[in-house]
């Protein structure tokens, strides 16, 4: 297992390198954003520990560039700024987990283990519908290459509809496949979710078939990918 550690504080870097080494990881260290970005882009790491406050290029920019360049390595963010706007920004940039400074090394190791285990799940084929793509392995979706931000219920809805694309799916069917046994089922909420998903993927991809349900279709002029 090979880990990239991007952290500018020399003491913290030394400690983390030591702890990660003890835990059985091979560790590469970068002390600034540019070097970190270069290493992450060129070397096949199993996970990255990325500090957000970095010289030369800040962590969020590094992460955004990786994700744009399709570097899918799981990333754990270290940040001293523990307000929620930072966390949201980090996850939006494509982070997989975060840890607020100061932290216990044990917690970092535990999070890292979980991250590596999660990303090693078996691959399954991606689904696509025109410019709309969905990766069930990473539970991520994108429209024309732009990553979509979906809640799990929205994701489940989109996943189910894409699995059965071109077919009209009734509300009842959606309710049954979206919710667990113990969820309060209210078919009206489906409309809310459809509305929210439409806002994110574009209004015309999901068609309402009056009295029957919904259908997802590629847009006109889009080729089946």
């Amino acid at each position: 297992m090979r880990i990239l550690l991007v952290e500018d504080d020399p003491d913290l870097s030394r400690q983390l390198k030591l702890a990660l080494g003890d835990a059985g990881y091979a560790v590469d260290h970068a002390a600034d954003g540019e070097e970190g970005h270069f290493l992450g882009e060129t070397e096949p790491y199993d996970a990255v520990v990325l500090d957000l406050g970095l010289p030369k290029m800040d962590g969020v920019s590094v992460l955004e560039r990786w994700r744009r360049e399709n570097v899918a390595t799981p990333v754990l963010i270290l940040t001293a700024r523990d307000n929620w706007s930072q966390k949201v920004a980090g996850f939006d940039a494509g982070a997989d987990d975060y840890l607020t400074k100061p932290f216990h090394t044990e917690e970092l190791l535990a999070r890292l283990r979980a991250l590596v285990r999660r990303s090693a799940g078996h691959a399954s084929p991606n689904l696509s519908c025109g410019g709309l793509r969905l990766d069930p392995r990473a539970a991520r979706a994108s429209v024309n290459g732009e990553p979509l931000r979906l809640t799990s219920l929205e994701y489940r809805l989109l996943h189910y509809m894409m699995l059965h694309q071109g077919r009209v799916i009734s509300r009842t069917e959606l309710v049954e496949h979206l919710y667990d046994q113990d969820f309060d089922r209210d078919s009206n909420t489906i409309e809310v979710f459809i509305g929210r998903v439409r806002k994110k993927i574009g209004p015309d991809r999901i068609e309402t078939v009056r009295g029957l349900g919904y259908r997802i279709m590629p847009l006109e002029g889009e080729s089946e990918g």
């Binding site: 504080d9 003491d11 983390l16 406050g53 307000n83 929620w84 966390k87 939006d92």
Partner: protein, 467 residues
């Protein structure tokens, strides 16, 4: 003395602009109208008197032309005016001799004078003697006490050496009555004109100041979070003020943002050394390490608490901020589901599209984020968020989970700073205390209750921006 003089002006300065302008215009037009009224009245009276005196003059001249002297005896002509023959009719004439001392001795008089004569004050006689051939006019009364206007002229008559004083008088009631009527009409007209003027000034001021009232309304909208800045078009005099107000709003937001950045920088600067100390202490077990670890923990808690308080203090004072609730709930739900991916937490959020929080985005994120994190830690699988408008200018965000819940007697503790109900659960333990602090900073509050999902229900009341 000066203070007594200035007091009414100071009071005026504080009172409304409309009142000031209307009062000023009102006082000025009243003064001008009163002056105009007196002037017109005077002119009218003068014209009337002149006409009256022309009549008297004519009577005197015809008297003079027809008067004859025969053997020292003065004979008067018959007058065409019948009033000269009716006693005390109000029309009188008299021809009198004047001696060297100025004493008047009537020679002959109209029948209307009956047994009395025309009162002739000595100064009138003196004036008449200075200007022979020119009529002198004066006011007098007849024997009934009626006011008369009279003319007297000294002239010589053929056949008599001593000059003779010709006099004619008439009741002046007619001029006085005409003047009174004219004054009445003029006062009425001027009062109407004054009222109209003041009304016009009032309307002009209201219309003229309308942009000012518009500005006030817009500023109120900004303060209540209905608008982010002033967008109205204002006349040249007000446009700079609107611009300055916008700059002030922007500056205010800027200051808060800068403060927050400073605080964030401080946090970053302190936390990395703390992390190093903690890790170092753990790697070298011993008594010193224990002390360092305990103290570093305490420092961390203090730093965190104080930083959050500083941030909270900087909030709730900004104006013109509004935050889309649905958007924040969506972002946070996605983030939270990723954080708790391992656990497989499902977050279901519901909020009206047009619901807006009157305050900063970061603060709403902080409030909901902390409650959500708490819910994520304790829930089994499900978290439900509902945001809805409340009465007046409030909204409520409710977060429920299906975890073990919290006994009623322990609910007070969680809102206290640093309270951590379960030391083994992750998290700083400050989460709900921060939520409480923030909600209070915005004038809202936090309530804890049982959820029908089985776990805890946290409801936060926050100010709502009007739509």
């Amino acid at each position: 003395m000066t203070s007594r003089l200035r007091l009414p002006f100071q009071r005026l300065r504080r009172s409304s602009l409309v009142l000031r302008l209307v009062l000023l215009a009102g006082v000025w037009s009243i003064i001008m109208l009163v002056l105009a009224g007196f002037g017109l009245n005077h002119l009218f009276r003068q014209a009337a008197v002149q006409r009256f005196e022309a009549g008297l003059e004519e009577s005197i001249l015809s008297l003079q032309a027809e008067t004859t002297v025969d053997d020292g005896q003065v004979y008067a002509p018959p007058m065409t005016d019948a009033r000269a023959y009716r006693p005390f009719s109000g029309f009188y004439w008299q021809i009198a001799g004047v001696d060297a001392e100025g004493a008047v001795a009537p020679l002959i008089k109209s029948r209307s004078l009956w047994d009395s004569g025309l009162n002739t004050p000595p100064e009138v006689v003196a004036r008449a003697r200075r200007t022979p051939g020119v009529s002198v006019f004066f006011d007098t009364t007849d024997s009934l006490g009626k006011r008369l206007h009279a003319g007297a002229q000294l002239a010589t008559v053929p056949g008599r050496t001593a000059p003779v004083l010709f006099m004619a008088a008439e009741n002046r009631e007619s001029i006085d009555q005409a003047a009174r009527q004219f004054a009445l009409v003029i006062v009425g007209a001027l009062v109407a004109l004054g009222g109209g003027l003041i009304l016009a000034v009032y309307l002009q001021v209201r219309v003229g100041l309308a942009p000012l009232f518009g500005l006030r309304r817009e500023v109120a909208l900004v303060r209540r979070g209905k608008a982010e800045r002033l967008v109205g078009e204002y006349p040249a005099e007000l446009a700079p003020l609107a611009g300055e107000l916008n700059a002030l709003v922007a500056h205010n937001q800027d200051v808060v943002e800068r403060q927050r950045t400073h605080v964030g920088n401080l946090a970053h600067a302190l936390k990395t050394p703390l992390a190093v100390m903690l890790t170092e202490a753990r790697q070298q077990p011993g008594e010193l390490a224990d002390v360092v670890e305990r103290q570093a923990e305490a420092m961390r808690a203090h730093v965190e608490h104080q930083l959050r308080r500083a941030r909270a203090a900087a909030r709730a004072q900004t104006i013109g901020e509004r935050t889309d609730v649905a958007q924040v709930l969506d972002e946070l739900s996605i983030t939270m589901e990723r954080i708790f991916k391992e656990k497989g937490v499902t977050i279901d959020w519901r909020a009206p599209d047009d619901l807006c929080f009157r305050g900063e985005r970061q603060d709403l994120q902080e409030v909901v984020g902390n409650i959500l994190e708490n819910a994520g830690i304790w829930c089994k699988r499900r978290v439900r968020i509902t945001a809805e408008p409340l009465e007046a200018d409030w909204l409520c965000v409710t977060v429920e989970d299906d975890g073990p819940g919290l006994p009623a007697e322990r609910r007070g503790e969680v809102l206290k700073r640093g309270a951590r109900l379960d030391e083994s659960a992750p998290g700083s333990g400050l989460g709900l205390a921060i939520v409480d602090e923030l909600a209070r900073a915005y004038g809202g509050d936090v309530g804890l209750d049982d959820s029908d999902l089985g776990g805890l229900k946290v409801a936060v009341r926050l100010p709502r921006a009007e739509t």
